[in-house]
Symmetry: C2
Subunit: 413 residues, 2 copies
């Protein structure tokens, strides 16, 4: 009997009507003979409401993070119970689980906890009894029994982790979009749905701001080779986009999509003494306050000094700036400048590995629209640029055209 | 070091401002050298919101009750986390606990679970570390780890049970009223605050609809002789009403208060064959659907038939009527009639034990206002009458006058 993990986001459980809708879908799958594990997010708006209550208190130490987690996790707990009720109403035997009850054990980094182990026996028992387990996403419990959340979008991680631990046949992420597009259709009306995408591309798309899937969930899927499908909870017959692990590059288009991220901010330390260990010193200071650094650029200095730039999530900007003021003093850097009005636009494609000229096509397309590139960062499967946020839409459209993404190279073969 | 359990209801944690207010009170108590365990209800309105979501699904089997509990318990969990954050903000080390985390073990009667055991080690550990434990009220976990709620007002029960298990010096129930009055001040402006009340009287007042304390919490307190104080969370210097366990009847007034209950409904089986086991048969049918029966009246039949009446909570009225239609057929009773427009008005006083004439004073006062008495039920410390709901206010006022409750007999001595 095949086993599927179905994950439904906040919009999909956003009202009693929507909960009934997805429950009917689950019933169809169950009656077709599949075993289903359901993972749900909190009802849309609920997490924001709870975060806003927590933010009334100006605290961010470890104890406060523990308490915020207890507050936030309640949203998914309620959604799991309600979904279970909806299933029961249509005759599907189901049973809700909090993260703790589902055996999801995390480290104690409250607010951004990592799953360290899953005791699958509670879910196996439920499946054995013919029940559909409905698991509250986004949460687990530390070894000492405190509730810990996995960070924003953590319900995807819950779903993928359960799919890996239970050796599920597929992890299906149901969302309010049809799947992964070449770029955001709201910005570029030529955007095209991708029937499949490689894990590496998906990872870049996710980390670059294509918000359909959380980066960490994609990483987790890749680590355990969990077949991952993104599809719409509204259109029952949509197959969405399958994230696969084949690497037949010959069949791949050069560029798969244009990703972007609005929520970036840039920080530059000017006049940094150019000696070994400086980069580590700067990055450790940021890591110590639990901020993820994204792009990093350092130019080789000619006069014993260098400029060091990096980007962070915009919500971490002020904290990172504060930390850097201290670090600048510590390492005798000249000054710190920041810019929270930048965005990152990237071209992504596994085909880049075997093709040259992608960068020059990209930079030429941007130059033709007079868009200044402030930072560049490349990997085997993507090229990212930082630009002023006012050029975001223009850049996405011109790049989508430049790489002819509306044409569906992959499907034509 | 004295140990106090502080319980705060939904209004007391109804907003961030209110949560800050009670946190400041807790800080004062803590700094005075007391050990404090805090129990909180969900923010006012939250439980109703969650109940309403659950009620979208027409289910009331055991599995559905389990899920409803998971949904409802999330409200107290969030309130406990927020209260802990508020304490941390003003420098009070605190730690939130769900019912499960606090070691509160219940039976599996979801929705109306009873506490069967408390593992005090988690709270003892927290107190030992100097932390203020903040426990989510209204909930525990079954032996198999399912979340179970204790029914409406269950946070009082949580507080009293923790006070008993931890051998606390006092259980303080903070509410939005100043304490226990001779009757509801909103109905009778001569109502007077009682500085103390016996457990038996409090039990009758609570069970008779004086909503300050849940009956079960009072019973629990009595069983373990937990000193219980009801006081206002708004007025810091109010001492409220102490529930005590002395029984020096000579010092007691004859009648302590007038209680009433709006939420009653009456069901009568007419023409019941008068044979042994009939009452048991009727009451078991009601108990089987988990409905509590309050007053029971049966007249001895002269012609082999009798009429059998009982009252239930108004919210159980329709279910009870449905069940009784079947039972009437089973036991060959003539018919079933019901009335959901009745209320119960009672005089309560431990002094009744040694005084006669209370009943006649009561019935005369009601008769003078032409109020028809539909049912009568008495105990050692109370006399209850069922009357038409339109006479509620009149009855309360006339009885308050008849027993001169504004005069404070107790305090005059």
């Amino acid at each position: 009997m095949p086993l599927y993990v179905h994950k439904y986001g906040g919009t999909s459980v956003g009202s009693i009507e929507r909960i009934r809708h997805i429950s009917a879908q689950i019933k169809v799958a169950k009656e077709a003979g599949d075993n289903i594990i359901v993972v749900v997010s909190a009802m849309v708006g609920e997490t924001n409401r709870l975060v806003s209550l927590c933010n009334s208190f100006e605290l961010n130490d470890d104890l406060a993070m523990r308490e915020q987690d207890a507050v936030l996790a309640s949203g998914e707990q309620a959604a799991a119970g309600l979904t279970t009720l909806a299933l029961a109403e249509i005759g599907v035997r189901a049973r809700s689980f909090t993260g703790l009850q589902a055996g999801i054990i995390t480290d104690s980094t409250h607010g951004k906890a990592r799953i360290v182990d899953i005791d699958t026996s509670p879910l196996r028992t439920a499946l054995g009894a013919g029940d559909v387990p409905v698991v509250a996403g986004f949460q687990g419990a530390t070894a000492s029994g405190s509730i810990a959340t996995l960070g924003r979008g953590g319900s995807d991680t819950t779903a993928v982790a359960l799919a890996a631990a239970m050796a599920a046949d597929e992890c299906r992420i149901f969302t309010d979009v049809d799947g992964i597009y070449t770029t955001d259709p709201r910005i570029c009306d030529k955007a095209r749905l991708l029937p499949s995408i490689t894990l590496e591309e998906m990872l870049e798309m996710a980390s670059l701001g294509s918000k359909v899937l959380q980066t960490r969930a994609v990483e987790f899927a890749g680590k355990y080779r969990v077949p991952l499908r993104v599809l719409s909870s509204m259109h029952a017959n949509s197959c969405g986009t399958l994230v696969h692990y084949k690497e037949n590059i010959m069949e791949q288009p050069i560029v798969t999509g244009i990703a972007f991220n609005r929520d970036e901010a840039k920080i530059t330390l000017i006049g940094v003494p150019d000696r070994p260990g400086i980069a580590r010193c700067i990055l450790r200071a940021v890591a110590d306050v639990n901020i993820n650094v994204d792009m990093i650029v350092q130019n080789i200095g000619s006069d014993g000094y260098t400029d060091f730039s990096f980007t962070v999530h915009r919500s971490d900007y002020e904290t990172a700036m504060r930390v850097m003021q201290h670090t600048a003093t510590d390492i005798s850097a000249g000054s710190v400048v920041g810019n929270a009005n930048i965005v990152k636009v990237s071209v992504v494609g596994i085909g880049m590995k075997s093709h040259t000229g992608v960068a020059s096509t990209m930079f030429q397309a941007l130059a033709e629209k007079d868009i200044n590139i402030q930072m560049i960062s490349t990997s085997e499967v993507k090229i990212s640029t930082v630009i002023d946020e006012q050029y975001l839409e223009t850049a996405v459209r011109v790049l989508h055209d430049a790489f002819e993404l509306d044409k569906g190279v992959h499907e034509d073969k």
